[in-house]
């Protein structure tokens, strides 16, 4: 019986240690979904240092109809100003995630409601569309956004 238990324990160990591709992908997808939820909360709360912590140092974020934000500091600076003029309510919905080693590519849909604060030169607006995000598992084990490309699907004339 002892011997059987040992074999069973070894077998369990192998099962635990052997990566199952599907399970791993689902795990990464879960991490991405939870990070998206946190990001949406932080954008809404104006907690931009927390947002920036999930962008890689060499990140590129590409806001529609705006020059790209290159580097974590550019992301932090842009959004620190942006949350000063109003409230940004994002909904981020991961629709498909492809994982390969230390990178993952997410395709999702988003909606955005901007509610202008007093004195904002930008009027309130709503937007929606789809996005691609390249994620990278960095040396500290955290999955961060490397490249972020949101594409508005709202026709030009209605976009503002």
């Amino acid at each position: 019986m002892q011997r059987t238990s040992l074999v069973f324990a070894i077998a369990l160990g192998f099962i635990a240690a052997t990566p199952v591709a599907g399970q791993e992908d689902a795990e990464v997808r879960g991490i991405i979904e939870r990070t998206n939820d946190m990001l949406a909360q932080w954008y809404a709360a104006g907690e931009i240092d927390s947002v920036a912590a999930y962008f890689a140092e060499d990140a590129w974020q590409m806001p529609p109809n705006h020059e790209p934000l290159v580097g974590r500091e550019a992301v932090r600076s842009f959004w620190s100003q942006a949350v000063g003029i109003g409230a940004w309510t994002f909904d981020l919905d991961a629709q498909d995630v492809v994982v390969s080693g230390p990178i993952a590519v997410e395709r999702g849909s988003f909606s955005l409601a901007f509610e202008a604060g007093s004195g904002s030169r930008i009027p309130s607006f709503q937007d929606r569309g789809n996005y691609l995000v390249l994620w990278r598992r960095e040396d500290d084990g955290v999955w961060r956004i490397v490249w972020d490309a949101p594409v508005s699907s709202v026709p030009m004339a209605q976009a503002e």
Copy 2:
């Protein structure tokens, strides 16, 4: 001498068969750059069947301010109509390519000049911006576009 030659031949065989990460990445980047050049030529020439052949069956293309094109047939149909109303001159410039196994993610910049033909309801326009593309090496060895997210960097008011 025969023995030395044999060892040398085996060593060469190993060198040829051992993938060197940097070289492989450069090779994939080269394939992507050549495909981009061909795509630009085919868009300009209206050869949309050739364009569509480099999109995966399950491709998503996300034209700015338009609903996404889902599937190769949607890409073919959209562009077949589009090239009927004018000339589309793309310049696609891969700036960074991340390769991991059978996928690659490309970050690039683009410019687009649309010259309206007679009877087009859309006036001539120019656009420029940045994009992310997810590429996949498919079973036939061809790298195809799976997801394509181009983001205009032209401010709203100037975009048309």
